[in-house]
């Protein structure tokens, strides 16, 4: 390495190196340069995304903690609060899928209990290439096993998720995990270092050389060599994290803490400097005092290690022994490594020898922020101009006597619409005894013990929509998430967003990012669901190019009355089936086009907020008045698929007749937004109509729960039991 290019090995640019020398008034030493390298990486500094993220709505009556802390917090009444956040672990999962996914789960769980909340649920949002590829099958199986391995062991149920396959994720899978925690508002903790002289302590696992430079690794594209990028991968220890979680929550309850922060990406340096920055303080520490499991580690290595299952805590002076006692009881280390100072500097020693001295401001607050240029991608014109109407007309000529039964079967046994039970049955989704609506329905519902309240949880995003129209695609993700919560009887409260994109230095990718953020902002504004936190993951590219833009929306909703929890399954013979909203000729970007015609293109469905809100309000009102028995969001695969899903749960049939001008494939498979399929006792229909007539939602009775088959007009008639067996067998069959 030539002397002039030292910054390159730390992932910094020449200009950034200039900024550092100017800020310090001298050249940084090797350790200091390493500190800047990780702190100014995309992963820690959000340097390419911050400007755009500022446009997201973050305020609301229930928001107790917005973006900026480890996780957001919302008020759910009765002095209780919910903390939640989503986090990506894409690159580690690409090279070591089991451990990558497992440590992703471990990291997001730490973010939640750091806030003082007990983790009560996990969700996972997964993207892979197509399963006909051997390596994709390996990634898929190992990622699922890794999420299971960590979540099951630590005893936090994984209650919902989504799984989507497309060649665009070949080589760069997405593994996003969301955690939700419950707490008393009085236990809210923050990641702040305050109070001159207060001790700074490292607690939890011992530090090793694992994961050094993981944050920089996450801020770079995957290359052929990445597989050999050994130090960036860690092995998780859910057993130890369970102990760490219990010890940390016990410690928080004592009130002895000023601040607590988990050590995730960029380890000790990031946690200490961020805590100091929030408290407008300095920190002085000696790396020799950090408990280690390897010999001869340099300060650089100790500062940058990403060893898992560790926390940094700042107790009040004199509480050191209490901290040690609690951690000892749980079989964990706790060591004082330094103290809070008033000079605004991070000062690092090694056995008393100065190793680094950097102003916190320069390291954290003054990290560069770039206003990148976006540029509308060239591919869009062609794809959006693709006319599904013309295409279908042409197809019609060639395809006489379409067998819609067969098309439905083909859709339901395709990878994206196939049943996902073989995934979520690998997750313990019941531990903690709160899961009232299990995975498989629109949203999971958890009870809150001791109260008659419940929480509804979902994650949603259609990356293909976002590829065809990032802004509306993102809006639809928010709307769908809210709709999923409403269908289960909950009022949507707030959002965490996991923004997964390609290389932001590519103007076309940056444009996707900007548009998607604008879409989220608009939809969250309209639906009154503020964003309380999230995660940005750039550089999701493989030699084959960027992934679909994938802004994942995690949403939390509240049920004031748990007895109103509603699932998507038809219940009783004879019940009426009603469709809220309206079906249009909207097959652009649909599963139908992809699966049946191998096409990706067209205009994605419209989103009309007046209709969306009307449909959601009507559905929620009807649930609250006890009028309806099931509600199901009509999404990917359209009406036919949604009806089948409603039939499948309790193995009920349905007779459905819809008067329509639409082509059969449009009626059956169009993915128009703002639609919900409900079922209700005929007795309640009059009362429901009264409600519905006052609403702008639009609705029509389309049939009845009846028999053992699903019959739609004269187009489709399928045996439910038989199709259900095929639907559930499809995914396992693709793997073996």
């Amino acid at each position: 390495m030539t002397e002039e290019k030292v910054w390159e090995s730390e992932g910094l640019t020449a200009e950034e190196y200039e900024m550092i020398t100017a800020g310090l008034g001298r050249q940084p030493n090797r350790t200091e340069l390493g500190m800047f390298g990780v702190m100014w990486s995309e992963h820690c500094s959000y340097k390419n995304s911050l400007a755009v993220l500022r446009s997201l709505p973050t305020e609301g009556e229930r928001v107790l903690q917005g973006p900026g802390e480890n996780a957001g917090i919302i008020d759910i009444g009765d002095g209780q609060a919910v903390s939640f956040k989503i986090e990506s672990h894409n690159h580690p999962s690409a090279i070591e899928p089991y451990q990558g996914a497992a440590t992703g789960v471990g990291g997001i769980i730490r973010d939640i209990f750091t806030m003082g909340a007990r983790p009560i649920a996990l969700l996972d949002s997964l993207r892979f290439g197509e399963l006909d590829d051997e390596h994709v099958r390996y990634l898929f199986e190992e990622v699922v096993a890794g999420i299971a391995g960590y979540g099951n062991s630590i005893g936090v149920p994984t209650v919902a998720g989504e799984t989507f396959f497309s060649p665009k994720y070949q080589g760069n899978p997405l593994v996003n995990a969301m955690c939700v925690g419950l707490m008393d508002q009085q236990d809210i903790s923050t990641a702040t270092a305050r109070g001159i002289g207060n001790p700074v302590m490292v607690v939890g696992a011992a530090t090793g050389r694992d994961g050094i430079q993981g944050a920089s690794f996450a801020s770079d594209e995957l290359t052929e060599e990445s597989e050999e990028d050994r130090p960036a991968v860690q092995v998780g220890d859910p057993f130890r994290e369970k102990l760490l979680m219990e010890a940390s929550l016990e410690l928080i309850k004592t009130g002895a803490l000023v601040g607590i922060q988990d050590m995730g990406a960029a380890g000790l340096i990031s946690s200490s400097s961020e805590m100091a920055s929030r408290g407008e303080a300095g920190i002085e520490m000696d790396t020799a005092l950090v408990p280690k499991r390897e010999e001869g580690m340099t300060p650089y290595e100790v500062l940058l290690s990403e060893s898992q299952e560790r926390m940094l805590v700042v107790p009040r002076q004199g509480k050191e022994e209490l901290v040690k006692e609690i951690f000892k009881k749980w079989g964990l280390n706790a060591a004082v490594i330094g103290k809070v100072t008033d000079d605004g500097k991070i000062r690092v020693y090694n056995q008393g020898e100065p190793a680094a001295e950097v102003p916190v401001r320069l390291l954290v607050d003054d990290a560069p922020v770039y206003q990148r240029e976006g540029c509308r991608p060239a591919y869009l014109n062609e794809l959006q101009e693709f006319s599904t109407g013309d295409f279908l007309a042409k197809q019609k000529k060639n395809r006489r006597g379409t067998d819609y039964n067969q098309e439905l079967v083909k859709l339901l046994t395709s990878e994206n619409l196939a049943a996902k039970n073989s995934i979520y049955e690998q997750y313990d989704h019941m531990v903690q005894l709160n899961t009232v609506i299990l995975p498989g329905s629109d949203a999971a519902v958890l009870r809150i013990k001791g109260k008659n309240k419940g929480l509804a949880l979902t994650v949603d995003c259609n990356g293909r929509y976002c590829y065809l129209d990032p802004e509306r695609g993102a809006e639809i993700a928010v709307a769908e998430a809210a709709r999923n919560l409403v269908c289960s009887g909950a009022e949507p409260l707030a959002v965490t967003d996991g923004l997964n994109f390609g290389n932001p230095l590519n103007p076309e990718v940056f444009w996707q990012f900007e548009r998607a953020a604008a879409g989220i902002a608009r939809a969250c504004q309209e639906l009154a669901t503020p964003v309380t936190g999230g995660n940005v993951s750039f550089y999701n590219e493989s030699p084959a190019g960027a992934i679909y833009p994938t802004p994942i929306i995690g949403m939390v909703g509240l049920l004031e009355d748990l007895s109103q929890a509603t699932d998507q399954y038809f219940k009783e013979e004879g019940d009426l089936i009603v469709l809220l909203g309206e079906t249009g000729a909207e097959l652009g970007g649909s599963e139908y086009l992809k699966v049946i015609h191998d096409r990706v293109g067209g205009k994605i469905p419209e989103l009309d907020y007046i209709r969306e809100k009307s449909v959601q309000n009507l559905c929620l009102k009807a649930i609250k008045q006890g009028l309806i028995k099931s509600a199901h969001d009509c999404a990917e695969g359209g009406l036919a698929v949604a009806l089948f899903e409603s039939c499948s749960g309790n193995s009920r049939g349905a007779r459905v007749t819809v008067e329509t001008e639409l082509l059969p494939e449009e009626l059956l498979f169009s993915e128009s937004q703002s639609r919900i399929i409900i079922s209700l006792d005929e007795e309640n229909m009059a009362e429901f109509s009264e409600l519905a007539d006052k609403s702008q939602a639009g609705y029509q009775i389309i049939g009845r729960v009846q028999g053992r088959t699903l019959k739609i007009n004269n187009l489709i008639e399928v045996e439910i039991e038989e199709l259900k067996a095929k639907w559930q067998a499809a995914l396992p069959a693709m793997i073996n």
Partner: protein, 229 residues
Amino acid sequence: MKFAVISFPGSNCDQDVCHVTGEVLQVATEILRHDVRQDLTDYDTVILPGGFSYGDYLRSGAIARFSPIMEDVINYAEAGGLVLGICNGFQILLEAGLLPGAMKVNDSVKFVCRQVAITVESSETAFTGGLTRGETLQMPVAHQEGNYYIDPAGLEQLKADDQIVFRYLNQEENPNGSLADIAGVCNQEKNVLGLMPHPERASEKILGSEDGKKIFASLLDYLSSREES
């Protein structure tokens, strides 16, 4: 009446069991730490809950079995005390030799969490006295190592002594490939029971099934009639 639930490092169903016995069934329940020796004679039942004690590293239950309190559990069981092991608790009882046989990894080699149907094979224990032989119960399982194994002679012995307490209804319902569809066994004296399904997850209507509560109810009936006599 008083129950003890033993919490090992990595147990994660200790609070769940405590919720059901304490809140739902209203029996005084204490959670006892693994590392504190304790005279258990005052407790009417000792429950080893589910979870991943010591991360299930090496083999499920292998390390937990040597926790200090296990000596007390063994003494308690040998003196005729009632011991219930659920899932990981069952695995620990096997490792401790309080129950015969051993656990292998599921045939699928995967963790499995779902509702299964099991049948009651013996009503000769304190935990199943209120149930009828042949009765079907719906209960969730959640485990990766529930593939019960015992050698052929051992199996004959189990049958001869009526020690098979629960079986999965049939092969399809069997989530792990266990020998003879075994879901739960007891010791010869019938005071120690281990089972893979989680009765505490099926003890409240809102969670889908109350069949698990029948096991706890049997136990309570047994204990109160014992108190009376």
